[in-house]
């Protein structure tokens, strides 16, 4: 790659597609909802961008944490709130892989559970966008227990539909807890969705892994998720479910 291009990339005008390695003008990529024109690779989105893409403009209201007792309770790896999609109200939980790998610890668990309890109180549909490496292992057993706590909270929701949209990547204890238990399971094209990380599997198996064994497409073919939804169709697809439920 030429030095000129490298400089251009550094100032943010160009992006290299991690999938096909084509160089894309950032503005063009943004116009295409951060999907590669060449190979349809869906770039990872931060929570803010995701909310901007899905919700009616200015409709997102962040849920105030009820038990906000300090900085450690504030978790940027998930944004939770109320929003409208094509005029229909819903609750949103949007995870952000760029913050601590979207890992689920006590603080995130609390936000998820509060969001779920709000769904049960209000009867509003609840949509999760997941992006996480799993439980926050730095919190030891308490990280692991977030799986149990979020599953338990999810099972208390009887009034509202729950939808999970798996985005790249969703693995470990997030896939293996509340996210897998939604009424409807959707995924973005090419998203990695699974339980064990590839490195863990490799240390056990000592062999090369199939390229796409945790791809959304493989999960769809194996009957594990309901649908794959390209990013440009997400708003309409979610609108359909909001109308139906």
């Amino acid at each position: 790659m030429s030095e000129v291009l490298d400089v251009a990339k550094k100032d943010g005008r160009w992006v290299e597609c991690p999938s096909c390695a084509e160089i894309i003008i950032t503005r063009k990529l943004q116009e295409n909802l951060w999907v590669c024109h060449h190979c349809n690779h869906h770039f990872r989105l931060g929570a803010r961008d995701r909310i901007g893409l899905i919700c009616d403009e200015g409709s997102f209201e962040e849920l105030a944490p009820s038990d906000h007792t300090g900085d450690e309770d504030f978790d940027d790896a998930i944004k939770t709130g109320k929003a409208a999609i094509n005029g229909m109200l819903c609750l949103l939980g949007v995870m952000d892989f760029s913050h601590k790998g979207g890992s689920m610890g006590v603080a995130m668990g609390r936000k998820i559970i509060e969001l779920m309890d709000t769904a049960q109180e209000t009867g509003l549909p609840l949509i999760f966008f997941t992006a996480s490496g799993g439980v926050r292992i730095h919190e030891g057993i308490w990280g692991l227990f977030q799986m149990l706590r979020t599953v338990h909270a999810r099972d208390r929701i009887t009034r509202s539909p729950v939808i999970t949209v798996f985005t790249d990547p969703t693995t470990g204890g997030v896939t293996a807890s509340f996210a897998a238990l939604a009424d409807i399971l959707l995924a973005e094209p090419g998203a990695r969705i699974g339980f064990a990380g590839p490195r863990v599997i490799q240390t056990v198996l000592h062999s090369e892994l199939p390229e796409d064994f945790q791809n959304a497409e493989t999960l769809l073919a194996n009957g594990l998720i309901d649908r794959i939804v390209p990013r440009r169709d997400l708003r309409d697809t979610l609108s359909f479910f909001l109308r139906w439920f």
Binding site: F145, M147, L148, A176, A179, F195
Partner: protein, 311 residues
């Protein structure tokens, strides 16, 4: 010093003391016995978490089959997931605990005294195993029998084929089934209890745990790799994970801590099984006296309060 050697050294020291007691007849042996027990407490209060993990993985440690034969009467295995498979890493069935009909499900790491770990994939369950476990849980619920689980697994089996069959989904469903099961659930954590695979059988109305069993989201080796790039800091990683029976008892997560014999459960498997059985009987009779709704209410309250104490 390798911890095995250290244990051996401690064991011989204690044995010597014990022998002196028997030799000195007529003396105040109670006093000497008290000294032995104090010595034991001092040593094992200071046992490192990494040593606990080594003991939890010890090849002579009592395993599921030892508990099945040592505690229950007429254990009758029930096999299969009713989908098309039978996972050997999960073993379960019907049995009597004294006169009480119970359902038992656990991770089978190997057979008693056997070196057949590989056959049981070291107790690492596939989705099929989790489906079998769920089927047995629901059987317990349907007939109002207590469910007793034994947890002994490094984690759920990580492989492409278990991913293809929905490992994550089966674990989530298993946790959900267990958390909402309308019958008493008693969990015995007897060895390694790793990650979501452990949690799939690892929570109930009473939690019994051996003092050197280790319950954590990740193995110390893997945690060390994440923190330091390789497993050379597994001791520190184990300390950070704080997952031994003693840790979890002090956090109030474990209801009954089973003391292990000096040097670990492998030194007297029968005593450990016996002690576990005694506590199990007490838990079952307590829970059978309770109203089912009350059990569900208490379980929900415990899960909702399952948070680290501030400090």
């Amino acid at each position: 010093m390798r911890s095995k050697d250290r244990f051996h050294e401690i064991d011989s020291a204690l044995k010597e003391l014990q022998e002196s007691i028997t030799r000195i007849e007529g003396m105040d042996t109670d006093e000497l016995a008290r000294k032995v027990s104090m010595f034991r407490e001092e040593i094992y209060a200071g046992i490192s978490r990494w040593s606990s993990i080594e003991l939890a993985r010890h090849s002579g440690r009592p395993v599921l089959d030892d508990y099945l034969s040592g505690i229950f009467r007429d254990f009758t295995e029930l096999r299969g997931d009713r989908i098309g498979e039978d996972d050997a890493a999960i073993k379960g069935g019907l049995a009597f605990l004294d006169d009480v009909p119970v359902v038992v499900v656990g991770h089978k790491k190997r057979s008693s005294r056997g070196k057949d770990h590989a056959r049981y994939r070291y107790g690492m369950a596939s989705p099929s195993g989790h489906h079998k476990a769920m089927r047995l849980m629901k059987l317990a619920e349907k007939f109002g029998r207590p469910l007793i689980t034994f947890v002994d697994t490094p984690g759920a089996y990580p492989a492409p084929e278990t991913e293809y069959r929905g490992q994550a989904f089966s674990i989530a469903q298993c946790i959900s089934t267990l958390a909402s099961l309308k019958t008493p659930v008693i969990v015995c954590i007897i060895g390694e209890a790793g990650s979501g695979g452990a949690l799939a059988l690892g929570f109930g109305d009473r939690i019994i745990m051996l003092e050197n069993a280790f319950y954590s989201a990740i193995s110390p080796e893997a945690f060390s790799s994440i923190l330091y790039g390789d497993d050379s800091n597994k001791e520190q990683a184990a300390d950070a994970l704080k997952g031994s029976g003693r840790d979890l008892a002090s956090e109030g997560i474990v209801d009954h801590l089973i003391k292990e014999p000096v040097g670990g459960a492998q030194n007297d498997p029968a005593a450990v099984v016996e002690a576990t059985g005694q506590v199990l009987r007490r838990c079952v009779s307590e829970l059978l006296k309770m109203d089912r709704e009350e059990i569900m209410r208490q379980r929900a309250a415990v899960i909702e309060r399952l948070l680290p104490s501030k400090g």
